[in-house]
Symmetry: C2
Subunit: 120 residues, 2 copies
DNA sequence: TTCTGAAATTAGACATGGCTAATTTATCTA
DNA sequence: TAGATAAATTAGCCATGTCTAATTTCAGAA
């Protein structure tokens, strides 16, 4: 859960300027109360900083995790695309796969990708 | 959960002659009471047939699901191996990945694999 | 500056999947 | 055949992640 949230929060901050529960709920396909509860868990875990009714920010730890997740996501998507899979499927499958890929496998994906230069 | 269970039950029946909770617990890394509870859920779901204190059998639906899962598992493992990943990592990662791979991606894996002929 | 509508939160319920401790059942052996 | 032991089950607890209904807060428009 944490990974999906910090990844999305980082993206929202980048593209929208800030991350709001209502946006997160829409993007993750859950209801706002679920987001509120999960954000407070992330806060307890030291991944986000925030005051009630305000926008959500990532702590340093949160940013690190987000960066790790986004790198994995990028690599997995690029790899699937390099196999000829369509973008929508690649995105959808990567979402599920990225949480289960070891560093070893990720490196193998990168290596298999290198000659193509279709990512980054 | 159901997929992991039926997959393992099918394998145990094949290699051991029968599937017992204690074996399942060991293989999945959970405790026996957890297995009892989950088996009864699988029974409710129509995937297994069984009487208390007896071995576990798959219904037709359970066998179909097991077959589907095992095919996916085989393909994913073979594909990871074909990338040069070691067996242990391939097995471990496949365990997580297989539940998130669409048929489209699975076919892409098979296709990428064909020239190697290292599976089946 | 007040009020209204959207966003967020709280409260409380539910399903899933895990655990420990205690009990029951089945089986094998003495 | 009677006990002992290993397997299985039951009871009851916990954490996670979801929901709906009700309430609170905030911010912009009248």
């Amino acid at each position: 859960m944490a990974e999906d949230y910090v990844e999305l929060i980082a993206e929202l901050i980048e593209t929208r300027g800030e991350a709001r529960p209502v946006e997160i709920a829409e993007r993750l396909g859950v209801k706002p109360p679920t987001v509120t509860k999960n954000i407070s868990r992330l806060k307890t875990a030291g991944l986000v900083r925030r005051e009630p009714y305000r926008a959500i920010f990532l702590t340093d730890a949160g940013q690190d995790l987000a960066e790790t997740c986004r790198r994995r996501h990028r690599i997995v998507v690029a790899f699937l695309l390099s196999l000829g899979i369509d973008e929508e499927t690649a995105e959808r499958d990567a979402e599920g796969i990225e949480h289960h890929v070891s560093e070893t496998t990720l490196e193998a994906f990168e290596k298999a990708l290198k000659p193509h230069r279709r990512y980054k």
